[in-house]
Symmetry: D2
Subunit: 136 residues, 4 copies
């Protein structure tokens, strides 16, 4: 992804709150490549909530930088899943940010729910070649 | 309102797309003072959609500036309503932005609906003293 | 571009203030394909300010929609330039938003400046094939 | 603060990335009450960078909720300072989010710098009554 102008602050660097947005986009794309889209939740009493996030800001990114975002599923429990992320600046390979997010399945009443087997299986299938989308 | 750090861009001035957000906050507050909150739409097949917006950027605002936002209902038709806005910088009174937005009532199918009489009446009642909220 | 989750509001549709951001990204990309990047302004007492914007919201876009953004330079004056935009939803070709923005060159004192000849020439050169970037 | 419409996502709850923005606003206000504004950095080769953030999302907030934000300086080292935060929903007192952020002073070359004595002293002075601003 290319850093948008409006995400850089008066110091000229990406405002720190934006990285959780970049990583969400990357995570949604990661889900999509495993066949898991927003549509599977429509009509179900289930959604995936963010429970915790931790971000380490290693070096600044600037407007117009190209960032490479990596997503890894690092833990899959009965009730939760944890992802780790890294963002690198493309031209020099410089590490920009590392992060983790912890997620839980919840019902519309915000009570915890067991992660359904169908989702669990999809999460564990390795990404297939050719599923990468043009702007992914 | 005070301009947040994250709304200023690398040129040090408020990014232009933010003013539509500021004016929406001001408009929602304007509605609230007339007893019209989000709750009145809950469960109804009705919402208010933005149809058109026009913004004139007169001079730049910067991080930490205090802005005064004015909202005026300038037109109330059977199917639409139009608001105008002005943002001034508080300390010098400098005009920052002027704008208008046009709104229509729509059903969940996004078809136009007549503005209900109850809403129409509330819109035309003058704002009452003492309804201003602390951070309004 | 794919609509991010965080750009959709509680009505499930893209919040109207986001389109000015999408169009800015598209305009910056349009400039880049003509060799005009942020770097040309660095160290110069010159920047391009948004003077006016007008947006017509034709139909709603939703989270995960793919949007195609078109940018056209419609006017190039001595002191200003005007762009028009359209956003279409990719799968059905539905028109989502149309817009125009008016821009002026300003110095660091925010006074108007003539658009430099070098920029004017670059603006009028047609886009070249093969300059499209992977995620453009 | 009142939760803006545009900060709520299609699930109707505040998008998790927004809390780092709310806490930044609260922290800047916390600094201001101790006489530390952006102006003290202007012209100096010094700024305060976010090094790490951790957020625990305890329960969802919704559009139009009033949130109370607490800021506490929990650690002041030679090179870094750590703040903790809590956001509560006002009407029920429900805990929404807890967080910490770690900050360091850096020069324009992004190298670490010792926190200047003048800033260190201001940080340790207790907040004075009557300094609260109207919309703070």
């Amino acid at each position: 992804m290319r850093v948008p102008f409006f995400d850089a602050d008066p110091m000229g660097v990406v405002h720190h709150a934006n990285y959780l947005r970049y990583f969400e986009n990357a995570r949604i794309e990661w889900f999509r490549r495993r066949g898991l889209t927003w549509a599977i939740f429509t009509g179900s009493d289930l959604s995936v909530a963010v429970v915790e996030s931790q971000v380490f800001y290693r070096s600044p990114a600037r407007f117009d930088d190209l960032l490479l975002l990596d997503v890894t599923l690092v833990e899959l429990q009965r009730l939760s899943m944890k992802f780790s992320y890294a963002a690198h600046e493309q031209s020099e390979g410089r590490l920009i940010v590392e992060a983790t997010t912890l997620h839980a399945c919840v019902g519309s009443n915000m009570k915890l729910k067991k992660i359904p087997a169908s989702i669990r299986e999809a999460l564990l299938v390795p990404e297939q070649a050719g599923q990468r989308e043009p702007n992914g």
